[in-house]
Amino acid sequence: MRFHFTSILGLSVFALGLSFFDCQLFAEHPFVASYERFYATKDEPDELAGHVLISELNCTACHPMEAGLPSKGGPVITGSGNRFHREWIRSYLSSPRQSKSGSTMPHLMHQLPESEHDAVLDALVAFLSNDPAVEPPIVATGANPVAHEFWLKGQVDRGQSMYHQVGCVACHAIDDAFQPAKKTESDLERKIAALGLEIDELEEMGLAAPKKVKPVPMSRISDKYSLRSLSMFLIAPHVIRPAGRMPSLKLQPHEAADIAAYLFASQTHSKPRNVEEKSRLNKSVEIASVDQSLIDAGRQYFEKLSCANCHPIAGIKPKMSKAMKDLTPSPDSGGCLNDSSIKTPRFGLSSEQIADITKMIESLKRKQPTFDSKKTASNQVTLTMLQLNCFACHERDGKGGVGPDQWAYFENVQQVDIGDEGRMPPPLDHVGRKLTRDWIQKVIEGKGEVRPHFLARMPIYADHSKALATAFVSADRIESLTTSAAKPNNQASQAILNAGRELFDSGCVQCHAFRGESLPGTIGIELADVGTRIHREWFEAFLRNPAGLKKNTRMPTFFPDGKSAVPQILDGNATRQIESLWAYLNAKDQPLPLKLEQSSAQSFELFPTDRPILLRTFMDSPSAGTHAIAVGLPQQIHFAFDTKRLRLAEIWKGRFLNAQGTWFDRFAPSATPLGTNRITLPQASFALFDQDGHFRLVDIASEKSLGKASEMQLENNLKQTFLGYRIDVNGSPIFRYSIGRFLIEDCIQAHDDRGLERRLKILTSGDGELKEQEKLWLVIADDAIEVDQSETISTRSKLSLRAGDGVETRVVQQQPVNYWMVALDDRVNGIEVVYQW
């Protein structure tokens, strides 16, 4: 149904003439985005503009140039007949710019007599359809959902949002029907508004106004693509267009399908069709086998028309033409600049484009070009940014940046207003001074996400990353600075690290994230490991004077007039404070800033107030281990019970636990007591006496660790079972377990706010009265146990133990462990043992 609607939708758009794509200016001359933006309306011819055109129009693919400016190269042509509708290929070849407004591909057919056109086109289409489509394999994994035939499952509304949010509109047309979630003013808009003006009025007043940016035209999507081929193209554009001018925006398959569905819906007047693919398992379409002689003829025309100069194909050598410097750049010369020439490709250049190219070629003839891309790194940066259209998003040296019409479409996830910094792609002024070469390269490769709150994505320009990163660094380097990242100071003293942590709390935490944690509602750049990205010198300079390095920044000055705003830390010494912050940000093993810790605690720390809180979790061994139940009591005395070994394993006071790891961490880390006065009790639980009067520990869990007491025999025949727990009226757990024939209830509660009181009750003990040898003894072990006059037992770990009145106890002092044993009898109220520490 979807496509049916889509087609109707497309129709209404078509009928009303309202399609936003139709509203674009139809470009009769080749459209090069950065040229259109910066040079198309310049009065004077510009040599740099000529360079851009020569690279983007692939002039050097035929006309070699000593300076070696590479041409961008054309799309991979192999298998296009299986990617694009063949009628489209035919019409595109017969008149590129009528099929795709502004196409940079020249008209070639006019070099052949018109009477031959039909036959030539048939042959070329057959040739281009001969190979199977080159498509990247879409690997589905647990991290990458790939629905079967996902390209048929795109949703128009989702695609529309995505198209306007991830960055497509930096270059391509905006759909007026799409409303950004919330229109936030950019910094410039705000300033203009403060003057009581509107952007349009600036120019009228003779002021420099931000210029509108013309969108890069698209082909008629439905004429050219199927949903499948468009989705595949959007996922990995570089496979088809290695020049990288259309970059990958890291779209997941379903995202690409959504955008494809939207583009069809918004632009088309007919429903998506399958391209007649020539693939092994094509089920629905039988492709008539094409005459091999037609394919061969196509190959010959391909060669004859020098198509291979831009679209390399194995076995066809490019046919080079005159060197660039030997060309006579005159419209009357009969070359590429002359549209009436029938011996050369027809480019249909505008008069401005001709002038710029002419100027550039003339400079070559003078052999002293004023512009040479290799001459300075700065020029190389500018040229690359023009070629790749980095300026569509990024400003550098006052040039470029997101166009005024596009401002509203760059948003952050929560539409929080933290200025342009919080939503616009960052300016690249002095970026080579700020960032390390490796980090710049990583960012250009589309990795290195430090702004996860941005909706727009940094695309992937993998092939240009190394050269461009190096050029940035060379262009921006300040001689006094080191070029490599300063190594984080591993020797920083704990005092320095503590100071850094405090400083983070005193300012940074208001806006920045640290190790993925941030205050609620706060979005900002991640600061952990900043030394892997940013030069130490820049860091210091920026902290001392943020606005000096970044105009309009919302980063406040913490060191007005060079003096720290926090005089109580490190004597207010600015240099040492910055050093401590740097050390802390780059340290691996330091605790989170206190405010972030507290913020996390607020969500996930458990505070027993009126009733006990129970949490089953993993705990470390020798604490309660994998079968732990941690119990927090309102008296702020807590314990962990090991349900596998049936023992009270750990006791502590103060804060209880943070449950985040247990509740929400995929890797199920052990929970760690937060409080103080922690005592982990040695492993021992119950014992029996044998007939010779020797006691035998009950081997609760068959753990080797119990074998420490080597002279003791282990009792293996008793069956022990944890039976669960009941919750009494106060919310306290009563653990229930059986050991042999004994069924025991074990209730542990707070005792006088200072310790724990444990009551063990034997519910069943088999038949008749217990003989001495059959008694079950509770065992508490320690490496040193002493008895004082009042029958209180104290252990090395400062634990005092006392049994209730009239209860039989024994102390067994062995090496290396001592045991305190409490006889369990079947008195109705059970046996009480008090733990104080």
Partner: protein, 555 residues
């Protein structure tokens, strides 16, 4: 001049577009106020150009037949975020266990360790749902079953009965029903269940640990002959008898996150693609069976094992070959081909509604995590063993489908949570309900093996011409590689010649005669050309039959 009636068709169609389509609503409003002349003119243009679009029958959508009602969904941090946090200020409804209680209430276990009772869950729209916490402090419960009047759940270390003695709607006894399997503390040691079979046994399945650390290995056991180390009974299916005895039953599981019985009370589980597991699969749980993963054989010599120790595991052979070489290895009842029928199978639910959930009564429905969808399985018994076919059924849930539970009027609760992995859909977790719209989709209801092909049973009569044309069908078969690597490509794929397609008199059945069927291979059918008597295309034309056995005679 064009008749206005045709224009009405268009405007009706436009109105039916989802309102979220900003462009369309804009277009519609700008069309309507125009003067009648202009309207006529536009209508003329529309109708001329739209001729082909309107002539074709509308493509059926899953939502026409099965409607998703959202009870609660939330968007949290990225599903794989290291510091994952739920959406602020709301219940983290990561539904990991579902149990329908009565005509108003549903119990929901959530991954952080609680059980909640939701009331008024059948309201449509669900505006008055209330939430009450019944139990807490559980360790990642991954199942919930209403059993003899109380709720049973599986925690990492035990099966637990949640009892409410004083009937105040809050659990006051957490009774350990079974424990004792190996838990080394490895995150991947999930425990699933319980589900009850015909005999009243309570089944559970135990995930393998992944990448055990040294201190975890010290709590594991090793089979040195096979060089495998895992906690006791990890990778096994176990049951608790009505007498309370815990018995290991079958082994070879990797990540068995779903269990469920069919109407006969036989128990099944799903496994997920990974090392040794070529693609997701559905198996009958039964004593002595070994399914995929040799790591589970760490426990094979322990008392209670139902499997005889073996010396060697073939690594890198085709699955049919592995079956020959490894006598304990049993083929799945259904392979779920990767991507085509999901990427990670979860829960199993039988439609026991006797027709209230549509035409698939008695069939199994399998949750799908990564693609946030549900697939459908039809099983038949050949020579005593289950085998059958899977079909795509319904996609478009808000997040990973982890749990399924049939409730009132046959409607199905769908428990969602994608934390730790990834899924389609806008949400991180929540609860949705799937309701049949009472319209019968045109689907292949059953695909049955025959000695010389397959019999297809449709939900509605087919159009004779299209269904009897062999060009309406396309069939290939493939198998998988049994190896220690992650997943497997589709191996030895080949197309089959369809010799004939005979339509039954009532139009509900088609008998396909096919050349050289292959035992133990998955036979993938695409019946794209078949139309219903009303000229509808199939809602899903793909079917994947796991042909473990070719029946000896017509059935």
């Amino acid at each position: 001049m064009v008749k206005l009636k045709e224009f009405d068709l268009v405007s009706v169609a436009l109105e039916r577009l989802p309102t979220s389509l900003g462009i369309c609503s804009f277009r519609v409003t700008s069309v309507l106020p125009l003067s009648s002349f202009v309207v006529m003119l536009i209508a003329a243009i529309l109708c001329c150009a739209s001729h082909c679009a309107l002539a074709e029958p509308a493509k059926p959508q899953e939502s026409d037949y099965y409607r998703i009602i959202t009870i609660a969904t939330s968007q949290a941090s990225d599903s794989r975020a290291k510091n994952w946090k739920p959406a602020p200020d709301s219940l983290a409804l990561e539904a990991s266990g579902l149990a329908a209680i009565d005509d108003s209430r549903l119990a929901v276990a959530i991954r952080k360790g609680e059980v909640w009772i939701l009331s008024n869950v059948y309201d449509d729209p669900p505006a008055k749902v209330t939430y009450h916490r019944f139990a807490s402090g559980l360790h990642e419960p991954l199942g919930l079953l209403l059993h003899n009047g109380s709720l049973l759940t599986m925690q990492r270390t035990e099966m637990t009965r949640l009892v409410d003695h004083d009937r105040d709607n809050t659990c006051d006894e957490y009774e350990t029903v079974a424990t004792g399997w190996g838990v080394t503390g490895n995150y991947h040691e999930y425990a699933f269940g319980p589900e009850a079979d015909r005999a009243g046994n309570l089944w559970m399945t135990l995930n393998l640990g992944l990448g055990l650390k040294n201190e975890q290995k010290s709590l594991a056991i090793t089979n040195s002959k096979l060089n495998v180390t895992q906690g006791l009974w990890r990778g096994w299916g176990l049951l608790v008898t009505p007498d309370g005895e815990l018995k290991p039953m079958c082994a070879g599981m990797r990540s068995p996150s779903g269990l469920g019985a069919n109407l006969e009370g036989d128990m099944f589980y799903t496994d997920q693609q990974g090392n040794w597991v070529a693609t997701n699969s559905l198996h009958q749980l039964r004593s002595g069976a070994f399914y995929h993963h040799p790591d589970s054989l760490a426990s094979v010599e322990k008392s209670g094992s139902t499997i005889n120790p073996i010396d060697e595991i073939p690594d890198g052979v085709s699955f049919p070959e592995a079956i020959k070489k490894l006598s304990i290895l049993k083929p799945p009842a259904v392979w779920l081909p990767y991507k085509k029928v999901g990427q990670s199978a979860t829960d199993i639910m039988v439609d026991g509604s006797d027709g209230k959930f549509g035409p698939f009564s008695g069939q199994l429905f399998v949750g799908e995590f990564t693609q946030s969808s549900i697939n459908r399985v039809f099983l038949e018994k050949i020579d005593g063993g289950y085998q059958g076919v899977c079909f795509p059924f319904r996609e478009g849930f808000a997040s990973a489908v982890l749990r399924l539970e049939q409730g009132k009027e046959g409607s199905v609760f769908v428990g969602l949570s994608n934390r730790g992995w990834s899924s389609l859909g806008p949400a991180s977790y929540g609860l949705q309900r799937l309701v049949w719209t009472q319209k019968i989709p045109f689907e292949i209801k059953e695909m049955r093996a025959q000695p010389d092909g397959f019999e297809l049973v449709f939900t509605k009569p087919v159009q004779h011409d299209s269904a009897s044309k062999i060009g309406s069908y396309y069939l290939t078969s493939h198998t998988y590689r049994y190896h220690s690597q992650y997943g497997s490509e589709e191996l030895q794929e080949q197309p089959h010649t369809i010799k004939s397609a005979e339509v039954s008199e009532d139009g509900l059945r088609v008998r396909l005669r096919i050349e050289s069927l292959r035992e133990l291979f998955v036979h993938s059918l695409d019946a794209k050309g078949v139309r219903s008597a009303d000229d509808e295309p199939l809602l899903h034309s793909d079917a994947y039959y796991t042909l473990n056995k070719i029946p000896a005679s017509d059935r």
